[in-house]
Subunit: 257 residues, 2 copies
Amino acid sequence: MLSRPDILTPADGAAVAVENSAASGPVVLVCEHASLALPERAGDLGLPAEALESHIAWDPGALAVSRLLSQTLDAVLIHQRFSRLIYDCNRPPESPAAMPEKSEIYDIPGNRDLGAAERYARTAALYVPFHDSISATLVAREAAGLSSVLVTVHSFTPVYFGKPRAVEIGILHDSDSRLADGMLEAAEGGPFRVERNAPYGPDDGVTHSLRLHALPHGHLNVMIEVRNDLIADNIGQGVVADYLAVLIQNAITACQK
Amino acid sequence: MLSRPDILTPADGAAVAVENSAASGPVVLVCEHASLALPERAGDLGLPAEALESHIAWDPGALAVSRLLSQTLDAVLIHQRFSRLIYDCNRPPESPAAMPEKSEIYDIPGNRDLGAAERYARTAALYVPFHDSISATLVAREAAGLSSVLVTVHSFTPVYFGKPRAVEIGILHDSDSRLADGMLEAAEGGPFRVERNAPYGPDDGVTHSLRLHALPHGHLNVMIEVRNDLIADNIGQGVVADYLAVLIQNAITACQK
């Protein structure tokens, strides 16, 4: 099994990527499920290729949309460089979903009965550097006199356990709904089917990054979920990113009134 | 509440201390519960002074014995500089005992209903640096051609929930009992009441450090528990440390046969 400090080798590179770090716009974009890459030492976790490329490994399209948003909004973007299968950075170490033994229809053999050393290695090498990077970014911005609006970008599968999902864009929030309220208001009568806390919400444990970085500091925040069939290509990604940018900007303006 | 990266201020200093780091003896000593200090920002966690000085905050005498062992055995010593009340470094983040809401007879108000941000801050600032330091020490020793024997040093209260404990020294192990077997054999007929996996054992979740650092790598390992009334002063600490040093050395020799 993997063992710290070997979980990431030099060939794997860093766990976290920060893009457009000198951006001066108000938004800080976070993409926890940006990548389907696995550390070399992790092998394939015993999964077939179709699973390793599916939504259980990453949020297809989310990084592409985040990058477009980063340009449009002049926003810093922080994303995890490895698959949620090895560590889901939107979950704390105490959550069974952090290193899941099962995801949707797939058992994950490489995550079965993980020992203390392996759990520690993944937590220390992937989870902590990721959230430290977000913290450091927010602290540095505050020191520079910039306020921050935290926006996490996700995608979801159109069919889950065989059941189609009608919602197209989910606007998720935890106890602070200010930005989400503004986005939902801005979305009314628009081209997409946009819903609050759908296809899941804070009770499903998905607002961990918001709870870590936004709620304790009073930063405006939201988690965006886009149905991944809408952002499967450049055109869809561009349309959705432009749409989301307008919702975000309108909502920030509304919150500042 | 505390928030990362503020849980430890510069005035608090580092979470981890490494002493005698250039030691060339085979033993690596670890003391997870060395200190009753709390980070300044933690205040008193809502506890009375008697609790903050009691065994629920630290293992009284364990650091003193560890330092004597470090000298006698020419051993590196790694110890946590803050109380187990803020984070118990012998527990993984998924354990309720890592940031306990209750310990023996005391409720710990400052640990009640901890939010995600606070749990993360403690994990990142105290748990991960501590175990990274142990890992780095073990890796550096291996690179230098030194094999390592992991020995963790603890103390326990003579009276727990009002009930006296007769055992004086516990020799605890997880799945690898080689070193513990040797120490128990060496202790037979000696001056102390020495018992295997007492006053608790691996099923109580106390062998986390062994599981993290020794078992995956095949290092000889043991966890020592000394009843704290035996090591309350310099004389007792000296007697027990000398005794333990002999047990450890005999056991290592026996394992090498």
